[in-house]
Amino acid sequence: MRFRKFALATALGAVVAAAPLATAPASAETVLKAVMHSDVKIIDPIWTTAYISRNVGYMIYDTLFALDAKNDVKPQMVDKVDISADKLTYTMTLRDGLLWHDGQPVTSEDCVQSLKRWSAKDSLGQKIFTGFISEISAPDAKTIVIKLKEPTGLLLFALGKPSSNVPFMMPKRIAETDPGKQISEFIGSGPFVLKRDEWKPGDKIVFTKFDKYKPRSEPASAFAGGKVVKVDRVEWLAIADAQQAVNALSAGEIDYMEQPPHDLLPLIKADANLKTFVSSATGQFTMRPNSLVPPLNNPKIKQALWYALNQEDFLKATVGNAEYYKVCKSYFPCGTPFSTTAGMDGLLTGNAKKAQELLKEAGYDGTPIVLMASTDLPILTNLGPVAKQLMERAGFKVDMQSMDWQTLVARRNKKDPANAGGWNAFNTAWVSADILNPVLTAYMNAACDKALFGWPCDEKLEKLRNDFMKAPDLEAQKKIATEAQVEAIAYTTHIPLGEYSVPVAMRKNIDGVIDAAAPVFWNITKK
C-alpha cells in the first residue's frame, strides 16, 4: 500500500505541484511574439540570400527606394530624386532626420558604400554597377549622384529591389567589410533595433522599436510608405515543430506565425481566437532541368516536359485547398506587370501523347532522368512524386532520388553526368518578389557557365534580358519581357508549376499586417 501511494504521489507530483502556479504579466510593454519560417542563423542580408536574413534586414535596415503594393518604385530613405533629361544622371537627396541606431546621422557616404558592398554580391546589382554605372559619388552629406554610361529603366527598381539581396543601407564603417565576409556589427537605420545581447540562435531573436526612427508621412504600402512601429518589442521565437507553433498560437504564447503548413490551417480556422491573413504575394513552384548534361541537354526532350506536366496536379498534391493556389501559366507572377501567357498555348496540360511524340522525334533512348526530390521541406515534398508520375506517363524513365534539401542544394552545383553524382532535374519554389521580371528571375539567366545551376546557354535570351535593362519605359519593358518568356519557354530554362500562397496565422487581437512579399512588422498593433 505504501508503495502504491508513493508511486502515485511521485508520478503526479511534478504536474500537480507546478499546476497552480500562475504567471503574472511582466509589464505594460507591448510585446509581439512571432514564429517565422526559420530560425535566424545569419544576420548579414548581403552575405547570404536566405529569406530569413532578408526578413531581419527589413526589421533593422532601411532602403533608399522600395516597392509599394502595386510594385511601383517609391522613395524610402530618399526624399527626392532628380533625373537628368538624358536620363544619365540621378541626383538623390536623403530625407532629413535619418539616424543610425547608434545615434549618428545617416550620410550619403554611408549609402554609397552600402551600395558598393551590395553590388559586389547581388546579381542585379552587379549588372547595374558593371554595365551601366560610370560613377557613384557623395558630393555632400545628403546627396548621392549616380552617373550612367547609358540609360536603364531598372536603376531605381534595383535600388528598391524587394528580395534577396535587398540593398539595405548600413553605416560606412560596416559597409566597408569585405563582401565575402559576414559583418559583425548590426546597426541599421530601420524601424527596429536588434537586441544583440538577447539574440540566442535556436531560441529567439529580439527587436525593439527604434524611438528615433522617422517614418515617411505616406501610409504604409508593402515595403514603401511610413514604417510606423506600433509595438514596443518583437520577439521571433525558434519553434521548429509547426504543430507546436500552432499549439503555442492557440494557447496565446505567441501572437503571429509566418507560414503555418496548409494541412494545419483547418485547426487554425476552427479556433475562435485565431485568424489568418493571405498576402497577395505568392510563391511559384518550379521545375529546373539541367541543360548541360544528357538527356535534358536536348531541347526537344525538354520540350516534352512542357506537355507531360500540368500545374493542377502539382498544386493539388502540395497545397490541396484551392483557396491557396492558382494555375498561372506565366514565368512572372500572375497579376504583376509582366505577367503573360505568351508562348504557353497547349503547354502544361498533361498531354502525355504529345510528349511521347516529341520524345520519339527527339530519339530519347530511355536514359533515366535523375530527379532530385527533397523530403524535409513540407511544401516541396510532394512535387517530386507528382513529377515522376507525370513524366513516366509521358514515356520518360525517371530515377527519383530522395534527399534532404541541403543535400540537394550541394548536389545541384555539380556539373557531372547524372549517373555520376550529377542530376537532370529538381523542383523548388520561388517567392513572387524574386521573379517579377526577366532580369530578376534568376532561372532566366541563360549565360551558360555564369548562369545558376542547370546552366542554360541561350544568347538570344541573354540579349533580351540586356535589352530589358535598357528599356526606357514600362511598355517597352513589357514587350521585351513577353519576348523573353517565349524564348525561355522555347529553350526551357525552367517550368512554372503553379502559384500558391501561405497565409499568416495570428491571434485576433493582432491587426495592421502589411500586405508585402516578405513579412514586415511595422504598422502591426496588438490590443
Binding site: T10, K41, T48, A50, S164, P201, K450
Partner: protein, 313 residues
C-alpha cells in the same frame, strides 16, 4: 584506485582522437556543401565559391583536418559557419536547458522507477507487478513525441496548467523554470521509468532468491529491513549501470523532446547544426558527447567499488 582512474583518464585521449578523426572524415565525405547553404537559393557559383574560400573549405581535406586538430589542441573549438559565434559560446548557451532537462528527468525517473521496480519484485505475479511490466513495454514502445503531444494536449491546451513550449532560464525565476520543465521531463521520463523499473525488478528478483536473504528473514528481520539492508545494495550494480547510461543518453538523446517543446538545448543545436552542415558545431558537439560518455562510464565503474566491496581495480 587512483592509478586505475589515472589510466582510464589517459586512455580517453586516443579515444577522443579517434572520434575526432571519424567525425571529421564522415562529415567531409557526406554529400553536402555548407557554402551553398549559407549563400542561399539566389546565389550564383561565384558567391558560393567566395564563401567556400572564406570558410577554408576550398583547401585539401587533410589541411582542413590539420588546422582543426591544431585549434582543438589549443582549446579552440572553432567558430560556427553560420552564427558568427564561437562554438564554445554556442554550447555554453545551450548547456543549461539540456542539463536541467536531464536532471529533472532523472529525478522523476529514479524516484518513480525504483519504487515501482521494487514493489513489482516484492509482489511478484500480483496485479501491480503486471501493470508495472505492462507500463514498461508501453514506455519502450511509444515514441517520445507521441507522449509529448498527449501531455501537451491535456496539461497545456485543455487544462492550461503549463506552457505549451519554450524554456525559461533559471535566472528568470524558479517558478517559470519549473513550469517549463515539467512536461518535457515527464515525456522523457517515461522511457527511463520503464527501463529502470524493469531492471530494478529483474535484479531484485535475482537477489531475493539468494540464500542470505532467506537467512535474513530467518533472523527475524522485517521485509523492509531485508530490502534496504541486504537486497537493494546487492541489486544495485545493474541498476546504477542503467541509470548511469541513462544520464549519458539523456545528455545526448533529448533531440526529439527538445524539438517538440522548443527547448534551446544541445539536442536542438545538434539538429540545427546537422541540417545546416555546420561542421565546426557538429564536430564539437560529438566530441563533447563522446567525452561525457567516457566520463560517465568511468564514474559508473568507480561507483561499483562503493556498492560492492568485492569489486576492486
Amino acid at each position: 584506485m587512483f592509478g586505475y582512474i589515472l589510466r582510464r583518464l589517459v586512455s580517453t585521449i586516443p579515444v577522443m582522437f579517434i572520434v575526432a578523426l571519424i567525425v571529421f572524415l564522415m562529415l567531409r565525405l557526406t554529400p553536402s556543401d555548407p557554402a551553398a547553404i549559407i549563400a542561399g537559393d539566389n546565389a550564383d557559383a561565384q558567391q558560393v565559391e567566395m564563401i567556400r574560400q572564406q570558410l577554408g573549405l576550398d583547401k585539401p581535406i587533410f589541411v582542413q583536418l590539420f588546422v582543426w586538430l591544431k585549434s582543438i589542441l589549443s582549446g579552440d573549438l572553432g567558430e560556427s559557419f553560420f552564427f558568427k559565434k564561437t562554438v564554445t559560446s554556442l554550447i555554453a548557451d545551450r548547456i543549461e536547458p539540456t542539463l536541467a532537462l536531464a536532471a529533472f528527468t532523472l529525478v522523476i525517473a529514479v524516484s518513480v522507477a525504483v519504487p515501482l521496480g521494487v514493489f513489482a519484485a516484492m509482489r511478484r505475479g500480483s496485479l501491480l507487478d503486471r501493470l508495472v511490466m505492462g507500463f514498461s513495454v508501453m514506455g519502450f514502445s511509444v515514441p517520445a513525441f507521441v507522449i509529448g503531444y498527449a501531455l501537451i494536449y491535456i496539461f497545456a491546451i485543455k487544462l492550461q496548467w503549463l506552457p505549451v513550449q519554450g524554456y525559461s532560464r533559471i535566472a528568470n525565476g524558479i517558478e517559470p523554470w519549473v513550469r517549463s520543465l515539467v512536461l518535457p521531463s515527464l515525456t522523457l521520463a517515461v522511457i527511463y521509468i520503464a527501463l529502470i523499473a524493469r531492471m530494478t525488478r529483474t535484479s531484485l528478483l535475482e537477489v531475493l532468491g539468494e540464500d542470505y536473504i532467506r537467512t535474513a528473514y530467518s533472523r527475524g528481520l522485517t521485509p523492509l529491513q531485508v530490502l534496504t539492508r541486504h537486497a537493494l545494495p546487492n541489486a544495485a550494480v545493474p541498476i546504477v549501470t542503467v541509470i548511469g547510461l541513462g544520464v549519458a543518453l539523456l545528455i545526448g538523446g533529448v533531440v526529439v523532446t527538445e524539438s517538440v517543446f522548443a527547448i534551446p538545448g544541445i539536442g536542438r543545436l545538434t539538429v540545427d547544426a546537422v541540417l545546416a552542415r555546420d561542421y565546426p558545431t557538429i564536430q564539437a558537439i560529438i566530441l563533447l558527447f563522446s567525452f561525457v560518455y567516457v566520463m560517465i562510464n568511468l564514474i559508473i565503474d568507480v561507483s561499483y567499488t562503493l556498492l560492492d566491496p568485492r569489486i576492486r581495480y
